[in-house]
């Protein structure tokens, strides 16, 4: 099934024309409403009139996560505050999160795009659909939620946590679809086995998995253990949230809602655009966004755009699964974590040396994060000669980390100089997760 054949199946020429028209409009809009972009365009001696067709996009400047940070909180917002009806936040690279405001029209576009995803997965009004992304500042929960309501299925806002209760609801309510991270799906399968719920007792048949990279072998395992068909769901809050791209029944690449989010692949070093089929960094321009439009936003996600037609009938371009990052961002339990965020917290506490190590692992399908820090010799005084005092210090760091990272971390205290110094570029992350 296709939610909006008019847009999802339009001819390439028609779509290019629409994209060109929308690009001109959005450039004009940010030129007049966002000083940051006006200055950038003026520096490059560009005016909105120089941008007429979608091919002109290569003339435009890039936007980076740093730009969002430098303009915290509302510097890149184009719409007046009175038009903003929702604000989400995602991880920033240091203490400040990235703030994204949405107008009523943005929420409508988001719901429409999410409805396209769900319809492609085979979700309709007869389904009971559980959204098990976190609700809150994270775009996952509410983003998926709106789409489920849009297609008319019954939404169960299960959010995250309390997996046993969730498993029982899946059985007792006859829940047919779920949106969550792929690792949570495996954790759910494990919980079900532990409490004796078999896949024959449940009606689950569709899974929308995203917010973290996953592999074909994970897909096979999830499909087998839960007895469902699992589809990729891709998105990022800087662009919109979940629904930027989605797999169809072919399960071969994710269709990009490119009438709203225009994709490019660039060489992350030279910043040169790369032809279709070549792997590089994914860049998006929001073509219709009012709240916080972005031009050529560098996602840092590495993938390629797939040439050729898809058997499902949609003409929108597909992207391959994400193969990595062109920066040091980690995705832990679906949440983006930058080592620099941890650094800013560690530096804010004088009891610790300005050195740390992150150990990421996956235990029982749940990601774990350990932050190792060194006690600073000169701050280790008689005050700290009991485990109670040291534990309190540890807890203080853990709670600061939780508030900045939005996920819990285990803090391990090390003696001074215990964390290995590496020659040259220091290794701050050990990721033991093995995504085969």
């Amino acid at each position: 099934m296709i939610w909006n054949p008019n847009k999802e199946c339009m001819s390439r020429d028609e779509r290019s024309a629409l994209q060109g028209k929308r690009l001109h409009k959005i450039v004009e809009y940010v030129y007049h409403n966002v000083p940051f972009y006006r200055h950038k365009l003026q520096e490059m001696d560009l005016t909105p009139d120089d941008i007429r067709t979608i091919d002109d996009i290569v003339k435009l400047p890039f936007t980076t996560k740093k730009d969002l940070r430098d303009n915290y909180p509302f510097g890149l917002q184009a719409a007046p505050q009175s038009e903003i009806i929702r604000i989400h936040a995602s991880s920033g690279t240091t203490g400040n999160p990235t703030i994204v405001g949405y107008t009523r029209k943005d929420i409508g576009v988001w719901s429409e795009c999410m409805a396209r995803c769900l319809t492609a997965y085979g979700v309709g009004r007869d389904d009971i659909f559980s959204v098990s992304y976190g609700y809150g500042l994270f775009t996952g929960g509410l983003g998926a939620h709106n789409g489920v309501e849009m297609v008319g299925a019954s939404v169960v806002p299960a959010s995250t946590g309390n997996t046993e209760k969730h498993a029982k609801l899946i059985r007792d309510l006859g829940i047919t679809g779920i949106a969550c991270t792929p690792s949570y799906a495996l954790y759910l399968a494990e919980t079900m086995e532990q409490i004796g719920i078999t896949k024959e007792q449940i009606k689950l048949r569709v899974g929308a998995f995203g917010a973290e990279p996953w592999t074909e072998s994970m897909r096979e395992e999830i499909q087998e253990r839960l007895g469902i068909k699992g589809f990729n769901l891709y998105g990022l809050s800087e662009i919109m949230g979940p629904s930027v791209s989605y797999e169809c029944q072919m399960q071969n690449g994710s269709h990009i809602n490119e009438d709203h989010f225009y994709p490019e692949i660039i060489n992350p070093v030279t910043l040169e655009p790369l032809p279709k089929g070549q792997p590089g960094e994914l860049v998006f321009t929001t073509l219709t966004k009012e709240g916080m439009p972005v031009l050529r936003y560098r996602t840092r996600d590495l993938c390629s755009l797939m040439p050729g037609e898809c058997g499902c009938g949609r003409t929108s371009v597909r992207m391959t699964p994400i193969t990595g990052r062109s920066d040091d961002m980690l995705i832990i339990r679906g949440i983006n974590v930058f080592p620099s965020q941890v650094e800013s917290v560690v530096l804010s506490m004088k009891e610790f040396a300005p050195r740390y190590m992150l150990i990421v692992d996956r235990i029982n399908n749940l990601d774990t994060l350990e932050v190792q820090v060194e006690l600073r010799q000169e701050y280790f005084t008689a005050t700290f000669d009991t485990p109670a005092a040291i534990d309190e210090l540890q807890k203080r760091l853990a709670s600061k980390l939780r508030s900045v990272l939005s996920i819990g971390a285990k803090v391990s205290l090390k003696a001074p100089n215990a964390i290995e110094r590496s020659q040259g570029k220091s290794v701050r992350v050990i990721d033991k997760r093995n995504l085969k």
């Binding site: 005050t383 000669d385 009991t386 040291i390 090390k414």
Partner: protein, 145 residues
């Protein structure tokens, strides 16, 4: 009457204790008594030694997380109830005992107490009639003239 005790942070990892003890050995520092508070992640090694200030400098110079803590050493004889008496006096003065441990030194029983209010604890113990041993006395006991 206060005693300088070394408090040393040790990760739970093979070799961390040996490294510290080797430093004592190489500097010819004598350990008179020791105790350890153990947790799942780390241990706190508490040491009464022959020259605490020199030991502190030596350990610090070698990058060990070490602190000097003020503790008291109460002498115990064979009469029952002396530890109870010390604990009662402190609790009546609303002074908390953070930790304590005891050891024998040349036939004398010694109880080490770390109190949450050092100054107040000192007053209480001075007035109590219990014999608090000084650092010098401990070292003399350990190395009879």
């Amino acid at each position: 009457m206060n005693i300088n005790q070394l408090s040393i942070f040790l990760e739970n990892r093979a070799g961390t204790l040996t490294k510290v003890l080797d430093l004592f050995k190489e500097a010819h520092l004598h350990i008179i008594a020791s105790s350890i508070a153990d947790t799942a992640q780390y241990g706190l090694l508490r040491i009464i030694c022959s020259e605490p200030h020199r030991a502190y400098k030596e350990l610090e110079r070698n990058g060990v997380a070490v602190a000097l803590s003020d503790v008291f050493a109460v002498e115990l004889d064979e009469r029952p109830g002396q530890i109870a008496e010390a604990a009662r006096l402190l609790s009546e003065a609303e002074i908390g005992i953070v930790y304590m441990y005891s050891f024998f030194l040349h036939g004398k029983g010694l109880l080490i107490i770390r109190a949450d209010k050092t100054e107040e604890a000192r007053e209480v113990l001075l007035r109590s009639g219990l014999h608090c041993v000084s650092e010098k006395e401990i070292v003399d006991l350990w190395r009879p003239a």
